[in-house]
């Protein structure tokens, strides 16, 4: 990691720069896939799976039998872990349920707002050598609590044409039985437009490679909502001498092992801590199976020495990290000053991996600085709010002239008429 001591504020922008993510060069090829799936449906999905995933899919939908035999293929220990994580994720997301918010702005004018589940949602779970079981939980559980009527899941099959049994088990455990063996931009296209086999959904969730993210961006400016924009994963740590260097190093590495474009930052006013973390990093890195990836990610990463806590808070808010660990004596007070972050981990015993898997919070979080304007996935992400109003004759009379005056100022006579005509008639009407 690069060590930067007492940088001038004018240098911050450069210090905080992230690995570049430019999807625009992919849009052309992704557009072609989107259009093709829109036109040829299942046939196009099957062709692209052959082209990109090197597998000939016979049946796009996972069968009931496959789901049952998947359950048998998952070890008891893993099932137990999935159940513990599920229970905690459920508790935290259930606590987010909102009651209908009602108010009476003016006599006879009742207004309220109600959260209603999005009827049809699609979850994307990337493939790869290891199954992203936790991502299934993070998306399926809030979808189920929200009460989405139709929840479908797409994930690319392996070379044998199968989805990892642990993915199927985790999905089935959370009530998802429409699972499709398709990945990449073609999966996003299928969920956005629908095919003969895969139903179209209103909102698509989940991580993925750059093609998946580019496809999500493109459908988001057509007719399908998405959870949030893309970016490589990142972690910032604020720490002082009350932190344990070995713990900090383990956290930095847990983020760095995600991918070569991951980024980690350590922000502190203790030079001693920087030196100790640096040593621990080398010790722990040497033993990691994903050492090569983590090393490259660390090259993009920085330890920043600052003069005081004000500067630490300011630089973190400027960066807007996806994950933030605060391991300082006064972590609660610092946490209150954070305004831009996805998920925050407090104290010495809250590693990022707790939130990645089982503390209960969601791990689908805004990267790439998007924490400035976006929330991580939460119960609300699977719902939308509808507003309601009910006015009595007296209620309309009370605010009628304000409406008429404003409508007239906006030169919208028919808007005014809709009030005038009501007030001109007896309320017995």
């Amino acid at each position: 990691m690069q060590i930067i001591k007492y940088p001038e504020k004018s240098q911050w922008k450069e210090i905080l720069c992230r690995p570049v993510l430019d999807l625009s060069s992919l849009y052309k090829s992704v557009d072609a896939i989107l259009m093709d799936v829109k036109e040829r449906g299942d046939k196009a999905v099957i062709d692209y799976s052959w082209q990109f995933d090197k597998v000939r899919i016979k049946e796009i939908a996972v069968s009931h039998e496959e789901i049952i035999s998947a359950s048998n293929a998952v070890s008891g220990e893993l099932k137990n872990a999935i159940q513990i994580a599920s229970a905690n994720i459920k508790t935290f997301h259930q606590a987010q349920a909102q009651t209908t918010l009602e108010s009476q702005p003016s006599p006879g004018v009742r207004c309220w707002q109600k959260s209603v589940a999005i009827e049809k949602v699609g979850l994307y779970i990337p493939g790869g050598t290891a199954p992203l079981i936790s991502t299934v939980l993070m998306l399926a559980i809030p979808a189920s609590i929200a009460g989405c009527r139709e929840v479908i899941l797409c994930s690319p099959p392996n070379l044998e044409g199968n989805i990892h049994p642990a993915i199927l088990y985790a999905a089935d455990l959370n009530g998802i039985n429409k699972i499709y063996k398709v990945g990449g931009a073609q999966a996003i296209a299928a969920m956005a437009y629908g095919t003969e086999t895969i139903p179209a959904v209103f909102k698509i969730f989940g991580p993925g490679n750059q093609y998946v993210q580019a496809a999500k961006a493109k459908v988001s400016i057509e007719n399908t909502a998405i959870d949030m924009p893309a970016g490589p994963s990142e972690l910032a740590v604020m720490a002082d001498d009350s932190a344990v260097p070995a713990f900090i190093a383990s956290d930095l590495l847990s983020q760095a092992e995600h991918g070569v474009d991951s980024q980690v930052l350590l922000v502190t006013k203790s030079e001693k801590l920087i030196n100790e973390v640096e040593k621990e990093l080398q010790l722990q890195l040497a033993k990691l199976p994903r050492k090569a990836i983590a090393s490259r990610a660390l090259e993009n990463s920085r330890m920043i020495l600052l003069r005081d806590e004000d500067a630490m808070v300011e630089i973190i808010n400027e960066y807007a990290p996806e994950h933030l660990i605060i391991a300082t004596e006064n972590y609660s007070r610092l946490a209150n000053r954070i305004v831009n972050a996805g998920s925050v981990f407090l104290g010495n015993y809250s590693p990022e991996s707790a939130g990645d898997y089982a503390s209960g919070t969601n791990h689908t979080l805004p990267t790439n600085g998007h924490a400035r304007a976006y929330s991580g996935v939460n119960l609300d992400s699977f719902m939308k709010k509808i507003s309601y109003q009910e006015l009595s004759y007296e209620g309309l009379k009370e605010i009628g002239s304000a409406i008429e005056t404003l409508a007239e100022a906006e030169q919208l006579q028919a808007h005014k008429n809709a009030v005038s005509i009501r007030l001109s008639k007896s309320p017995k009407y």
Copy 2:
């Protein structure tokens, strides 16, 4: 309006089709404007204002003096109307404030979620012959309640280089003093990237013409969030014989006068109502100043006669209207069955124009079927949620093996290590 009696379900898709909105043909020219403003800043903004708005802007920022003299130029009656509307909008949006949601999924594991204001937001208010005063209120008031630190407003100047005094008055009343005389795609570019004069923001709100909407779509897949995707305005009315035909006609016209691409639907099981509304429409239309626009919008519009309430509810949910008026005897019961709509107006005395101006609900709503997945603008639109977790040693111990098992299944050894290393040390550390 076209009258369609007892359509087969297979015809619904065609009946419910909306006027086509295809922004993609505009993307090329909008991209050029975006890139130019990004590079040349204020100079580009001034050039495009001359090119598109035919006005040479001398000072992009509205001065303090202009704001003060604007207040003197607004009539007492209009000020009073603005204040009544503001008070109601404030009441309804204040009721949406959320407390921090906390839960303890497992002993020693505390998790919570907090809503935090987006620091910098930009509001776009379109120009044109009439000032959209109400849109200023609908965006500025929730931004102020949320506590956004920097709220800026862009609106195109008229040929004399001024923004309408009522816009300035409404903005100033709600604490906005950074107001810029710029419209179109160049305004969106300025707010997304920042110029010498106009600061960059994290999220952009507000309606606009197709260039504005195309620019918002493009910046939304770069680094700036937007309120929601674009589409022409629309209204659906569900009614029975308890409705007043003259009232319904006035509502259909209030929507139709918005623009030639507006759409209105009347859904009923009463043929008598259709006939009476049709007559009233002709009577009221004849007297409207915006008759030409409303007539053309009515050509895109339909009265649909259905057999029963189930079909009425189903077709409305399929259409997902921006505005929905339910003027039936049992409107509360029907309202409970609506799952896709932006804002719902109940009974005979709740015209759409009440919500457009002064009932307190927001009028920035999802059009074009986006109500299936998007909320209208509400307090939450100006905030994002941050999640927090604080684990004790005992808390981490409780869920540690679940994390380790899942991390191992996902082949992320460093994620596992971050837990193991903590649990291997004494909690006194």
